[in-house]
Structures are given as C-alpha cells and as structure tokens.
C-alpha cells in the first residue's frame, strides 16, 4: 500500500467536492426538510420512551447521521460512475495497488460525508437544535466511523454492480431500510419486538445512538458499546471492500 496514493485519491475527491457547490446544497435539501417539517409536525407528540426531550433535539443527531449515511454510500457507489466514465481505468493501470485505491476512495468519500454531516449539524442550529457544545467533539468520532463504514459499503457494492442502473436499487433497498431501522427518527424501543432485532443488527443504530449520546446525552445503549460496534464494523467493511476491490477486473 502506498500512502501518497491514498493521499492523491483523497485529494481528488475533496477537490471535486469543493467544486460541486450545487450538489453540496442540493443533497442537504431532503435532510433539512426532514428535520424542519418532522420536527415541527411532531413538536407536541408524546413518545413514551422520550421523557423530557424535545423531538427536534432527538431528531437532529439522527438527521446528521442520515446525511453521513447517504453521502458516504453515494460516494462509495460513485466508483461505478468512475468506471462508466472510464476514469477508474486510469487509476487501475497505474502502479498504485488496488488496496491503495480502495483505501483512498474510502477516505475521500468518508471525508466528504463528514463535511456534509458537519454542515448539516450547523444548519440544524438554525432550525432550533441546541446540542452540547463539547459533545460535538465526541460526535465527530462517531461521524467518522459512520462515514467510513458506509463509504466502504458503497465501494463494496460498486464492485458487484454492473452499471449505474443499479443505483436506484441500492438507495431503495439498502440505504433507506438502514436509515429507517436505525432509530434516527424514533427510538428503536418503539419498534415491535419482531422488527426490533433488525435494528440491533443494523450498525447504523449504534452510530446514531452514539451521536445522540454525544450531542444531547441521551442514549438507548451504552456509548462504549456503540463505539465498539460501529468501530469494529468500519474495520470489517474496510477489509471486505479492499478484498472485493482487489478481485475486480476493469475489463
């Protein structure tokens, strides 16, 4: 593995991100509406497992996680775009190893996801979210792990995707279920028993819970467990995506 290679790929992702202003803003649209309108709509709703916490405070860490999840997965899957538009070949015939490429793309995608997540956090202040200021530092750690996990997942998926037509499939049957089953919108405890085990299998559940613990000191699990689960998952995903990436022929 070559560190300079990882750095270059990371730098490329960052440059492209900085240049795509409309995408930065566009992709924040949906989560902002989620936060604003769900927050307003459920303003007075009583959720039994949430005593004393306003819904907007509960929701904001979830929506920030959502942004990280979506941005990360998309930028991972965007390797398929690179394949479609040929740029992947330029990288694949270069002397840097496949492992370097997978890691570079993961870190690049994860960084943009973290930046987006942070931007969402700032925007949420305007909507009325008041997090613990110091807790934002802890939340950053969770954001990093969520970002790496799902960017890596995206890359792993991209290696088995033929072309960009599978993209919609990934969003509808992978990203959305993960989002809804993560406790981002309501506590996982509210799920009926027979569905709840799915949320326990969902790594994002622990990421969201960790975020919420950091930002508003409310959590359903022990934050240390949150950290271990999402951390272990991100390592696993990096390993899997690297192995899958090493096996791809560009053709």
């Amino acid at each position: 593995m070559e560190f300079y290679g990882v750095y270059i790929l990371w730098l490329r992702d960052l440059k492209r991100y900085m240049r795509a202003r409309s995408r930065i803003i566009g992709s924040l649209g949906m989560p902002i509406f989620f936060l604003a309108f769900l927050g307003m709509g459920f303003r007075r709703a009583q959720i039994p497992s949430l005593e004393g916490i306003s819904y907007i405070d509960f929701l904001a860490p979830g929506v920030v996680s959502m942004v990280v999840l979506f941005t990360g997965t998309f930028s991972g899957v965007s390797v398929v775009w690179d394949r479609q538009f040929g740029f992947l070949r330029e990288i694949m015939v270069s002397p840097i190893s496949r492992t370097t490429i997978a890691l570079g793309r993961t870190l690049g995608g994860a960084t943009t996801a973290i930046l987006q997540g942070f931007l969402m956090l700032v925007v949420s202040f305007a909507i009325g979210f008041r997090p613990d200021f110091l807790g934002m530092i802890y939340s950053l750690a969770f954001m990093v792990l969520i970002a790496i996990s799902f960017t890596g997942m995206g890359i792993a998926i991209s290696t088995i995707m033929e072309d960009i037509h599978g993209f919609q499939l990934v969003i509808n049957f992978f990203v959305f279920p993960i989002f809804f089953l993560s406790g981002a919108l309501f506590p996982v405890e509210e799920f009926p028993e027979y569905i709840r085990f799915l949320t326990y299998l969902n790594p994002l559940t622990y990421g969201v819970d960790g975020m919420r613990w950091s930002l508003i000191h409310f959590s359903e699990f022990n934050p240390i467990i949150d950290f271990i689960v999402i951390g272990a998952f991100s390592v696993l995903v990096i390993l899997i995506s690297t192995i899958l990436f090493n096996r791809t022929e560009v053709g």
């Binding site: 300079y4 490329r12 492209r16 240049r19 538009f85 040929g86 740029f87 015939v93 002397p95």
Partner: protein, 352 residues
C-alpha cells in the same frame, strides 16, 4: 530507421587472416536486440469464445508497432492483457522485461495507456488531470511541473492548461489523454484506437503528435487501429489480426509487397513502350495506354517524365494507384477490413 534510434555497442573483433587481419564490426546479434515486449501463445477466453488465440510476437524497443484488424478482432483484449487489466487464460507476456501476470505493478510502472474510451476526469482541469497522473506515478513536484508544461506544449494545449476538461472538444481531450499517457516517461505506450471517431483533420493532427512523440521521446508505441491509413502512415511493423489470431506480421512495405504493387497507367503520344522495356520495367500494353507495375510508384513517376522528355515523347495523362494494406487484408481474409463483421454475436461484448 528503427536501428538508428538507439546505438548498439559496437564489438570489434580481430580475426587473423592469411596475410593480414580484418576488423569485423558486428552488430548485436539478433537475440541481443532489446525486445521490449514478448508475447508467447497468449490466449483469452470469454466463456466459450476465444477472443485472442495463441498469439505470439515480439516488439523491439523504439518501434511503432501496429495491431490492425476489424472491429471485434481481439485487438483491445490483447492490449488489455498486455496492460494487466485482463488476466490471460493461458500463455505468457512480458512487457519491459516483466511478466504481466506475476509482476503487474512493475509492468504498470513502465507503461502508459490511452484507451479507446475517454478516461479523463472531466471535473478537473487539464493541469489537474496531469498532476494527478504524475502523482500516482510517483513523480515529485518539480519534475511534475516541468513535465506538465512539456507535454502540454507537445500536444499544443499549453494555453488550455487551466480549463476544465469538460469544456474540451473531442480532439482536444484525446490529445490530452495522449499527453497524459506518456507523461511519466513510460517505456511502452499503448494507444488503443487513438483516432477512433475523430474527423479526418483531427486524425492527421493526432498522427503528427504521435510522430513527434516518437522523435522526441524514448518510447515504444503499440497502437491498435482498424484504419488502414493509420497503420500505413505511422507503423514500422504491423500485425494483422482477425478472429483473435495474427494472420500476418511484417513491415508495412513487406506486407504490401506480398500482394504486389503500385500501378501506373499512362497514355502517351509516340513510341514509349520499347524505351520502358529497355529500362527493365514491367509494362503491359492496353488499347489506349501503358500499365506499369512497380513496388515504388512515387519514385517511378518522375523518372517516367524525364525519360519521356529525353526521348521526345509526350505523356498525356497519368493514373496512379497505390497498393494498400487493405489489399493485403482482402488477400488474407477475403473480406474488407471495415466490413462490420457482425457475424459473431459475441463480438460486441468482447470489444469492451
């Protein structure tokens, strides 16, 4: 022409003769000439379909080597195996001395590739694309900056360095890709259909750049094409490939000589035939004209005129037809090269 591009160490052997001794200057023996590419019985199957069948050839350092064949003949598959993008089903290949299967990274360090389809990052500028490339090939900043302005100069894009690639025309993008392909001083540059889909003028333009490249850089160029003129114009040697097999491999000149010849048809005022026969030219008399066949028509025409003038004969008209690689291809396969060989359903898939 090829030989002149690099110097052989001259070996001076003193051989004792009967009365004196001779100085014998031997060129490097054939085996010692540097073979930058060696391909041994390379084969690639896609399922049941053999895209490349037991192909063997060697390329010398400094050559422009052409792989000519119709669409779907296996050219791109061959290039992809040599550039480590596809793994061969069987057989071996060495590029710059490294095995493409066992040492892919070493091979990649030593080659540059320009693919058929564009592989630029259109969201970046020309300079950024080149800078990215220089970095992944491990060039340091100073070397990179110097080289970027050099290669941009060579392909005539210096004034477009900081323009986003998505604003480039097709020809400009191709030129940038070629510039990028040889930016890291590769020993071998693969050009897969470098002028596919470009208009005639842009094509000539690209040819000029390729020729300039071979003059200015120490690089061996392997190019695939299904344009006969391109192979004729650029290549030292050409392998003609059809249905995954090499069916002929030689210099353009030798290939053409296999089938023959250029023909010159002249009509004259006066007795000229006997004069031409005296010059040992092959002449056929038709009702209105004389038809000469020769291996080098361009040189013969001026000679004909001076002969005519010498003997007071007036040449009234001249028709000249060059022999071309197209004729060679037709001779070997019974088909024209541009006929879409749609007979095989797998072909479209294989080409990608």
């Amino acid at each position: 022409m090829i030989m002149m591009r690099f110097t052989f160490p001259l070996k001076k052997d003193f051989i004792e003769g009967d009365s004196s001794f001779f100085v014998v200057i031997t060129e490097k023996s054939h085996a010692e000439v540097e073979k930058i590419i060696k391909v041994e019985e390379l084969t690639k199957f896609f399922g049941e379909f053999a895209a490349v069948k037991e192909v063997s050839f060697e390329v010398e350092r400094g050559e422009i080597f052409g792989i000519l064949g119709p669409n779907g003949a296996g050219k791109t598959t061959l290039i992809k195996m040599l550039s480590t993008l596809l793994k061969p089903t069987s057989g071996r290949a060495f590029v710059a001395g490294y095995d493409v299967v066992k040492e892919p990274q070493k091979v990649r360090q030593n080659i540059g590739i320009v693919f058929q389809e564009p592989t630029l990052d259109v969201e970046l500028t020309a300079r950024e694309n080149l800078d990215f490339h220089g970095r992944i090939y491990g060039m340091d900043r100073r070397k990179r900056e110097k080289r970027i302005s050099e290669v941009l100069e060579l392909v005539g894009l210096s004034d477009k360095a900081d323009v986003l690639v998505k604003k480039f025309s097709g020809g400009m993008q191709r030129r940038l890709e070629i510039a990028r392909g040889f930016m890291h001083f590769p020993k071998v540059l693969f050009l897969d259909e470098p002028t596919l889909g470009l208009d005639v003028q842009t094509r000539r333009n690209i040819w000029d750049y390729i020729e300039k490249l071979r003059r200015d850089e120490d690089v061996t160029i392997i190019l695939t094409t299904h344009y006969i003129e391109e192979a004729e114009h650029l290549c030292d040697r050409v392998a003609i490939i059809d249905f995954g097999k090499i069916i002929a491999l030689d210099t353009v000149k030798n290939l053409k000589e296999r089938i023959g010849k250029d023909t010159i048809e002249i009509s004259v005022n006066g007795e000229f035939e006997s004069i031409l026969r005296k010059e040992k030219l092959s002449v056929v008399r038709t009702a209105e004209s004389l038809v000469l066949s020769t291996s080098d028509g361009e040189k013969l025409i001026p000679k004909l005129f001076s002969l005519a003038q010498e003997h007071g004969v007036e040449i009234q008209s001249v028709k000249f037809k060059k022999s071309s690689l197209e004729d060679v291809f037709v001779l070997l396969t019974g088909r024209r090269i541009r006929e879409e060989s749609a007979s095989h359903p797998m072909l479209r898939r294989i080409r990608r």
